[in-house]
């Protein structure tokens, strides 16, 4: 229970930091840390596939992409952190923890125990046999993303 709580607090802490920090590099690293915590939580909750993906893709791959992009574009100036971070962050964090604890305390006894067990079947089974329609949706999301990049970063070919 204590480990779980610590992990959850770490997750929220780094997530909020990722939003509030102005230095993009620090922000990206905070996001990676948050994702690492989430990955560990997934492992502890018997969802190893989700954990592996979270840590390898979100904490690993995407962070590398972020840092590469920042390295390529950064002007090299020192970024001054906003003062807001100093007082809003602790305030927000405490308020969140209190509200979260109250809601969860109220809910915990009322939600019946988890009806489903841990992930059943292998990853391939779940993905290919259980959730095939989601794959169609995922393909569509990827298509939308690619077309969005093509459209939004198009050359100024207006009036061509």
């Amino acid at each position: 229970m204590i480990v779980q709580t610590a992990l959850l607090i770490g997750l929220v802490l780094f997530s909020v930091l990722a939003i509030l920090l102005r230095d993009l590099l620090k922000s990206a690293i905070s996001l990676a840390a948050a994702s690492l915590f989430l990955g560990i939580i997934f492992f502890r909750m018997n969802a190893p596939y989700a954990g592996v993906f979270e840590i390898s893709v979100v904490a690993g791959l995407i962070t590398v992409l972020f840092i590469l992009t920042i390295a390529l574009t950064k002007a090299g100036d020192e970024v001054r952190e906003s003062r807001v971070v100093n007082w809003v962050f602790p305030l927000f964090f405490i308020a969140f923890i209190i509200i979260d604890a109250l809601v969860m305390k109220g809910l915990l006894r009322k939600i019946p125990a988890l009806a489903s067990g841990a992930e059943t079947g292998t990853f391939g089974d779940v993905l290919w046999k259980g959730r095939t329609f989601d794959l169609v949706g995922q393909i569509a999301v990827i298509l939308a993303g690619v077309f969005a990049v093509l459209a939004l970063f198009r050359k100024g070919d207006k009036h061509d």
Binding site: D134, V136, Q138, F147, A151
Partner: protein
């Protein structure tokens, strides 16, 4: 083969950018419009025969092996598919001329079709997570489409829309997780059955609250509406038409109604919440619309107000109320689609959206002025147009179910709606022609054709309202009025 509603637009979207390398205009125009025309014909002609014997359930197979793609088509989803195809086709026809000066037309059509595929997928989904996923498909495509003009306003509006939309989907996802945790399933039928057996009022209450916030944001109900008046006016006109006419209804109203009525079952408390939210949106947004000078912004506020009518009607929970709500949803999709298209014609001709700068445009753009008038009067609820009948049904249902106060509010809001629409019509089209617009010409052929198509539908449905209600609206309302039994009995795979 109801999977075609999802697969066809996706496949055409996939090849469009490649085709765009060869032909920049004609072939993409042709392909996109042909795909939507096919979907319209398929929904309008084949759809009704398909569901004649009850809902159609399709389990796809791949080389004889069943795969986990399960779709369901019933009266409610068919009505939505028809609305999507109609407004989608009109917006796509309009784009032929309108999107000419934006460039990258093939990419535009590709995004447009992905958005249509997302909406169709959501409507056919039989599972909570599929609903979430296809909502995201349509949403991701729509962010890019809102920003398509690449101007500062467009980018800012798209970003704001993206952020609030992400909050909405986060709420929806939390709720899906709560439901999955309780029932161990995501399938509509299984969840509905499990919830009947479980005695978990509090947890269902929490899930409903999260869904309400998520879908409320998507449907832009007040107080969750802040993003819509920025996002919808900034988008290119055909996209505004699809966003306001379809997307808020499919990813907001449809998803919310399907889950609340067919999966959770409408409780008296939920009914009161829905009706109150609906009435609040209806009134507040109508007042906000009255104060607008930007033509498209006024239309955007009007959308929030009219979605309020839809939610109010469905929230009553009686068969007549649901039928009225759904009929208004359909009518508003057509009329608001039409109005955003005409506003696009005006904006392209004059370069402005400011109503105070316009004036007398009816002399220069008679067809646009006439079609705009049809759309405006339809939404305001003037007989014999389609909007009149749907509002009338909602008001009768309110009185019948013992909610006379809501009925009076609905009537008064309708007067307010007529007021701001007449104000718009007078400022933009009537009166003396502003000299600045002496050289303005009627919109190009396809733009005019698209608006005439929708205007004729508004008039035609108004005249033939009783057959429209019996063929399209009643089957949809029956599904919702059946409550959880509509899903538990006949949706099991």
């Amino acid at each position: 083969m109801i999977i075609l509603f999802v697969a066809l637009p996706l496949v055409v979207a996939g090849i469009l950018p490649l085709v765009g390398k060869v032909s920049r205009r004609v072939v993409p125009d042709l392909l996109a419009n042909a795909a939507l025309l096919f979907l319209l014909v398929y929904a309008a002609i084949t759809g009704r025969h398909l569901i004649a014997g009850g809902p159609v359930l399709q389990q796809l197979s791949w080389f004889g092996e069943p795969v986990a793609i399960r779709l369901a088509l019933d009266g409610f989803s068919l009505l939505m598919l028809l609305a999507i195809a109609l407004v989608g086709l009109a917006a796509c026809l309009f784009s032929i001329d309108y999107m000419e000066h934006y460039g990258a037309k093939a990419n535009y059509y590709a995004l447009f079709l992905v958005m249509i595929a997302g909406m169709n997928g959501l409507v056919l989904a039989t599972d909570l997570f599929n609903v979430y996923l296809f909502m995201e498909v349509a949403a991701v495509a729509s962010y890019a489409l809102v920003a398509f003009g690449l101007g500062r306003d467009e980018l800012e509006a798209a970003f704001k829309y993206l952020l609030l939309s992400v909050v909405a989907t986060a709420f929806i996802l939390i709720s899906v997780a709560v439901i999955f945790g309780m029932t161990g399933s995501l399938d509509f039928a299984a969840v509905a059955k499990a919830l009947q057996e479980l005695n978990a009022g509090a947890a269902v209450g929490v899930a409903s609250a999260f869904f309400l916030m998520g879908f409320g944001l998507k449907a832009a109900l007040i107080p969750f509406h802040a993003w819509l008046p920025d996002a919808h006016p900034s988008a290119p006109a055909p996209i505004s038409a699809v966003l306001s006419g379809l997307l808020i209804k499919v990813s907001g109203v449809y998803a919310m109604t399907r889950i609340f009525l067919n999966v959770f079952g409408l409780t008296p408390a939920l009914s009161t919440v829905l009706m109150s939210l609906g009435a609040l949106s209806m009134v507040v947004a109508a007042f906000l619309a009255l104060g607008q000078k930007d033509m498209k912004r006024m239309l955007a506020y009007s959308s929030i107000s009219q979605v309020g009518y839809v939610v109010l009607g469905i929230g009553i929970g009686t068969p007549l109320g649901i039928a009225g709500g759904l009929f208004h949803l359909f009518n508003h999709a057509l009329a608001k689609g039409l109005l955003f298209l005409t506003s696009g014609s005006v904006q392209q001709a004059t370069g402005t959206r400011d109503l105070d700068e316009m004036g007398g445009l009816a002399k220069r753009m008679p067809i646009t002025a006439a079609t705009n008038l049809v759309g405006a009067l339809s939404i305001a609820g003037v007989p014999p147009l389609n909007g009149f009948w749907s509002k009338l049904i909602i008001i009768i249902a309110l009185v019948q179910s013992g909610h006379p106060v809501f009925a009076v509010i609905a009537v008064l809001t309708s007067v307010l709606t007529l007021w701001y629409y007449l104000l718009m019509q007078r400022k933009a089209f009537f009166g003396k022609l502003n000299e600045k617009w002496a050289a303005v010409k009627e919109a190009p052929f396809w733009m005019t054709a698209a608006t005439v198509f929708l205007a004729l539908l508004c008039v035609g449905i108004g005249i033939l309202f009783s057959s429209t209600v019996t063929t399209w609206i009643q089957p949809a309302a029956d599904v919702l009025a059946d409550g959880v039994h509509a899903v538990i009995g006949s949706w099991g795979f």
